[in-house]
């Protein structure tokens, strides 16, 4: 199983039947492909609709795109609305889970994913609203950068997307829960040891007494 599949499969286990879910572009979007058969979720798209169909399903429509601008389709029972309504849903606590990628996360639950000063400034889009309003915020990302540098830090160095907003960090190596006392290591990926997690993580963390292997197959 490659890193992205491990992350997407583990993220999918966070969804309960009937949840309203907003998935960021990239790895988070893949999670919709691994929903348990008895779980059905309603995907929200920040540009103004509920009932986003998973990619590769129904035929894509004209004038209907996801948050990444890709043509998509809408499920039976879907609903379309303007951007103020869309962000009322997001900011108002009507989204059960949002899953976002990140450049950095830290042990206080801060997240930075919208700019690298002087290099890359795409803008925050809807990310700041999503992390301030969703009931549960999950960061789903590869544990380190392509060069192997840690992304889970003591303190974010990049401009923040949100302060103290992250609830869970799911990577190809492990799952951290963000608690008021700091990071708690609750799961490791199949075949990954706690020492490997420690080697690749700058942030301080506590190992949960019940730490186990991710229940993915």
């Amino acid at each position: 199983m490659n890193a992205k599949t491990i992350i997407a499969k583990r993220v999918a286990l966070e969804f309960e039947d009937g949840y309203v879910v907003n998935l960021g572009i990239g790895i988070p979007t893949l999670a919709a492909d691994f929903l348990p058969t008895d779980v059905s979720v309603i995907l929200q798209s920040e540009n103004g609709f509920l009932g986003l169909a998973p990619l590769g399903g129904l035929v894509a429509e004209v004038d209907l795109v996801n948050a990444g601008g890709k043509s998509v389709s809408i499920m039976p029972g879907g609903a379309v609305f303007d951007s103020a309504m869309s962000f009322a849903i997001i900011r108002g606590g009507h989204v059960d889970v949002t899953v976002l990628g990140s450049l950095e996360v830290d042990q206080e639950g801060n997240l930075a994913n919208w700019m690298v000063p002087g290099k890359l400034v795409p803008g925050m889009g809807g990310a700041m609203d999503l992390v301030s309003g969703a009931k549960k915020v999950i960061v789903a990302m590869e544990h380190t950068t392509k060069d192997g540098n840690p992304k889970i830090l003591k303190k974010c160095t990049l401009p923040l997307t949100g302060k103290g907003v992250v609830n869970f960090i799911i990577t190809n190596l492990c799952v951290f829960e963000v608690t008021p006392a700091g990071l708690l290591l609750i799961e490791t990926a199949p075949g990954v040891t706690v020492d490997e997690v420690r080697t690749n993580t700058v942030a301080e963390f506590v190992i949960a007494p019940h730490v186990c292997t991710m229940p993915i197959i």
Partner: protein, 215 residues
Amino acid sequence: MSKITTIEQALEFVQDNMTVMIGGFLGVGTPERLVDALVIKGTKNLIGIANDTAMLDKGVGRLVVSRQLKKAVVSHIGTNPETGRLMNAGELEVELIPQGTLAEQIRAGGAGLGGILTPTGLGTIVAEGKEVIKVDDREFLLEKPLKADVALIKAHTADTAGNLIFYRSARNFNPLMAMAAKVVIVEAENIVEKGQINPDHVVTPGIFVDWIIKG
């Protein structure tokens, strides 16, 4: 008085140095014919308010490439490399605003509100220089309303009274911007007679719309 007009006449209302709101999300729901004509007209030093600067050859992105904007007020510029290049070269001012805040600022502009209170952006650089207001025990940022001289709107169907219906995710910022500008110009794919749209289906009431051109 008929609201149906030509593109040329409608764009008489867009002049140098104006603030212009333009609907769309990555080009979907942007009135492309109006943008085409605005590029040809060459109006300069505009402040553009939009969700994003779309792509080089699509939507608001074309006004970036044609150098007609002095400032872009948007939530995202990542899909248009020219926006970032001009910003870094100091040739285009870019104000980045969280998307939900931008939507509510525009809505507030049209709704006669003095601003909105949002938790979005607290503890980030978005909050710098802004007033934090405590309501009960929770902190919020005060974000002021946004208005424009002109709004360029894309609709699926307009009736001759200006009532509008939108299609799928091409709705996005369009109904909000139609409330927040002095002059509202709509590019409609279909134009029907007054009475042909069921009043229950109207999304933007016709009183907000000044001019309609066929898309």
